[in-house]
């Protein structure tokens, strides 16, 4: 009987935020009925796609019981790096004037590599040097931004926004296949891959174990250092790829790209049911979390509310989500 009551309570706690989201959608739709349309739906999905990748990376980190503040700046760095390698040969203001046109795979791989590198540094600092994750990744956030600015300011570019991408590169961000944006397809594919890694591989289960109780995982023969390194690198790769897609989607890139994406991603994860103390989190939850935030973003703009209000609403949702999270897990231990 007690268990059943507990389940009802769990249910209420798990779905409180979805109910709030539903309420917001209803309010927006009442104010502006055009909100309920295919176009709006597609826009929201497209905008959510790059955010989705950052959130997936963040989910790996949070499930492993760690934290990562570097995500947004890695997106920015990867956007500039990939953008600078994806320009047309004929473009007047080329970042590398001497360079010819590169195959599209090069900027894509470069962005992923940048992410992997930053992730490896994060992982090493956290797992080997034992720097608290919050501080290690705060440091990396600054380093990534600094490096990005230095690169972006290189002559002859001198901090001018990038542009003039090859068509194939731009298509990654703006193209459609049978009416479905390529971005959305990529995001869905990555969601599926991450879900498989998380639930169907030893690595995925070991990440859960490390996040749930790193000491116990260590005693049980799990190489905690290795797992944390891989986790941070996976997250980094996702951030990097997100940066590349962000450049492709907007047809440009500057060093200020990706600003505070990591905070939105962390918020999406927590709202999507990841436990801030590690060991709990799922892909469907994170998808829901990302959608909630983008619906709020888009919806509030749609009804003409000042974008500043978005911050207030998002902030409130984060606090409510964590307050619920704490109650959900604190009582059980």
């Amino acid at each position: 009987m007690q268990l059943k009551n507990g389940k009802i309570k769990d249910f209420m706690m798990n779905y409180a935020l979805y109910l709030i989201m539903l309420l917001i959608v209803i309010i927006i739709a009442i104010i502006s009925p055009k909100f309920i349309s295919i176009r709006v739906f597609r826009d929201i999905l497209t905008q959510s796609s790059t955010r989705m990748l950052v959130a997936l990376g963040c989910m790996f980190i949070i499930v492993s019981g760690s934290a990562d503040l570097s995500g947004g700046r890695v997106v920015g760095l990867a956007a500039v790096v990939s953008g600078s390698l994806a320009q047309q040969a004929a473009y007047a203001n080329k970042f590398w004037p001497e360079m010819g046109e590169l195959p599209v795979i090069v900027p894509v791989l470069a962005s992923v590599l940048v992410g992997l590198l930053v992730g490896a540094c994060n992982g090493y600092a956290v797992a080997k040097l034992k720097v608290p994750a919050f501080l290690a990744t705060l440091g990396m956030q600054m380093i990534a931004y600094g490096v990005n600015c230095l690169y972006f300011n290189k002559a002859p570019n001198n901090s001018q926004p990038l542009g003039g991408y090859q068509e194939a590169f731009g298509n990654l961000g703006t193209g459609q296949i049978m009416g479905i944006p390529i971005l959305v397809i990529i995001a869905l594919a990555l969601c599926a891959i991450v879900w498989i890694i998380q639930t169907r591989t030893c690595l995925g289960r070991e990440i859960f174990a490390v996040g749930g109780n790193a000491n116990a995982a260590k005693v049980s023969g799990i190489n905690v250092f290795k797992i944390l390194m891989i986790t941070y690198m996976l997250a980094g790769a996702l951030y990097g790829f997100a940066g590349c897609l962000e450049a492709a989607r907007t047809g440009s890139a500057t060093s200020s790209y990706g600003l505070s994406y990591e905070l939105d991603a962390i918020a999406s994860c927590i709202v999507g049911g990841c436990s801030a103390s590690g060991g709990i989190g799922s892909v469907p939850g994170v998808i829901a979390g990302v959608l909630i935030f983008n619906i709020i973003n888009y919806g509030l703009t749609f009804i003409g509310l000042s974008s500043y209000w978005q911050f207030v609403v998002k902030g409130l949702i984060i606090i409510i989500a964590v307050a619920i999270d704490v109650r959900k897990y604190a009582g059980k231990n």
């Binding site: 030893c202 289960r205 859960f208 174990a209 749930g212 000491n215 260590k218 005693v219 190489n223 059980k332």
Partner: protein, 519 residues
């Protein structure tokens, strides 16, 4: 010492915690100006009683009198203001501040200049110096505490207690981390304090020390008062038998083993961590349960965790089946078929929010990927479920299902699930650290049966236990440690409570008449 006035009287104290009656009519009366030893085995209730005296716990029943007046001690601060101070076993000074600030913390003297209160450093310095002079302590009051040795930190705590005007100072294992010279210094200060009329309650497992420096001895057993005697009427043996004297009940599957050849051989193992264990040698035979006895601080857990690769080793060798092995991590230990069921189930055992099934397959999944992926890289859930289910059944783990989060299971069932985690690896050596602590009798018996089964199959078991009946009931041989040293290994036919307690309190191998060489 002819002091007759009781400064502290604790009468008929009872204190229960969920599931445990820690104190059951325990009493302690201490005279002013004496050193009073409080003795008993681990879990006898010494610490609980002292925490009641120091205001950390509230007794359920009984009364506490100071100087004949009934008092209530809701907090440590009220205890200190009424003259009771406690020097904890693990000291906790504010490392980043200096000596005098630590002594006067919360009571820093102030002076008023220009209408503002300023900390009066000069007065604080002078007061500290005077305090130290009276006690014969030589520490610079302005020294940073992080630069002090453990012994000096302890003296600092004592000075702090005196500065509160303590009438009773409780010392919990004060010499456990001191060298001999440092101990002598402590004893000299204790003499000074008693000469000033302060009473000392002295908790120690070192019986020689107790015989040397105390005036009276109170013995507790299972939360009850055994009695109290003037120290001069006692000797080593009588103290031990008073501490132990309890009935052995038949709660164990009677082991009749014929141990085979040596399987694990540990020689001269010394920890890389200072003040941990040194020069430990023992052999473990196939089909044998080796019990490890000792008191808190004997470094038994540290020894086993070092063998398992969790802690660094400075020197010494470990041989398995004749071959020398170097184990630097749990992964390597598991590869050599060693399993370690740790002492702290919650800290190093369960992954609370993961399911029972997940917890059971955890170690095997990491060690033997192929069992669950069939080489494809993707997990086959059926194999996982099958393995987990097997142990849920064979260990009769009571759980609503494999998917239930393990944190909802009772302690005993969590422990059995963790045992399942290790059994799945089919270990040759199973090390169990306090395997039955805090679990119910039924689960205990099942764990004993499982140990038996391992041994019947020619595997070996090492069991650290502080429960004397369990240690004696299950072990083929008992290795006793004291303060990081091996003080003796007892064969089954020479085991007795007294001998174990004796060895656990004396580590000089030469002095210990019971110490036997390993077979």
């Amino acid at each position: 010492m002819e002091a007759t006035k009781y400064v502290l009287e604790m009468k008929h104290i009872c204190k229960s915690f969920p599931g445990v009656k820690a104190l059951d009519d325990a009493s302690l009366t201490v005279r002013a100006g004496t050193v009073h030893a409080l003795m008993g085995e681990n879990g006898a209730g010494k610490s609980t009683l002292m925490k009641c005296a120091f205001g950390l716990y509230q007794p359920d029943e009984g009364e506490i009198r100071i100087d004949g007046n009934v008092v209530s001690l809701p907090t440590p601060k009220s205890a200190m203001l009424q003259g009771i101070s406690m020097i904890h076993q693990e000291l906790n000074p504010i490392m980043t501040r200096n000596v005098m600030e630590n002594i006067w913390v919360g009571r820093v003297p102030y002076k008023k200049v220009a209408g503002v209160h300023w900390a009066d450093d000069r007065k604080m310095f002078q007061d500290t110096q005077k305090l130290f002079e009276d006690l014969g302590i030589h520490i610079d009051p302005k020294e940073k505490v992080s630069n002090l040795s453990v012994s000096h930190c302890q003296l600092l705590e004592i000075a702090r207690a005196v500065s509160y005007g303590a009438k009773v100072i409780i010392m919990d294992e004060p010499t456990s981390s001191l060298t001999e010279t440092e101990s002598e210094l402590l004893f000299a200060i204790i003499k000074k304090l008693t000469a000033q009329g302060v009473a000392i309650i002295y908790i120690s497992h070192k019986i020689e020390e107790v015989l040397d420096i105390t005036d009276e001895v109170t013995v507790l057993r299972d939360g009850q008062l055994v009695g109290n005697w003037p120290t001069k009427e006692l000797d080593m043996d009588s103290i031990v038998s008073k501490m132990v004297g309890r009935d052995m009940t038949n709660r164990f599957p009677k082991p009749e083993h014929t141990p085979g050849e040596v399987f694990l051989e540990v020689s001269h193992l010394t920890s890389a961590v200072p003040h941990s264990f040194t020069d430990i040698s023992f052999a473990l035979h196939r089909g044998e349960i080796l019990g490890i006895g000792g008191l808190v601080g004997a470094q038994r857990t540290e020894l086993m965790e070092s063998i398992f690769g969790l802690r660094p080793i400075a020197s010494g060798t470990v041989r398995i089946d004749g071959e020398e092995v170097k184990i630097g991590s749990p992964q390597e230990a598991i590869r050599h078929k060693i399993a370690l069921l740790t002492e702290e189930r919650r800290v190093t055992g369960i992954i609370p929010m993961l399911s029972v099934g997940e917890n059971i397959v955890l170690a095997n999944q990491t060690a033997n990927h192929k069992r669950y992926t069939g080489g494809t890289g993707f997990l086959n859930y059926a194999a996982r479920t099958e393995d987990a289910q097997k142990y849920v059944e064979s260990l009769s783990i009571k759980t609503p299902g494999l998917k239930t989060q393990i944190q909802y299971l009772s302690g005993g069932n969590q422990q059995k699930a963790l045992l399942g985690r290790w059994m799945l690896l089919e270990p040759d050596i199973l090390i169990m650290d306090e395997p039955t602590r805090g679990i119910d009798v039924g689960a205990k018996y099942e764990i004993y049966c499982l140990m038996e089964e391992m041994v019947q199959n020619g595997k070996c078991v090492i069991m650290i236990s502080s429960e004397m009946p369990e240690l004696m009931g299950m072990s083929d041989r008992i290795m006793v440690m004291c303060e990081g040293h091996l003080s003796g290994i007892l064969n089954r036919d020479e085991v007795s409570d007294e001998r174990i307690m004796y060895l656990a309190s004396t580590y000089e191998k030469g002095e210990s008449e019971y110490a036997t060489e390993k077979r």
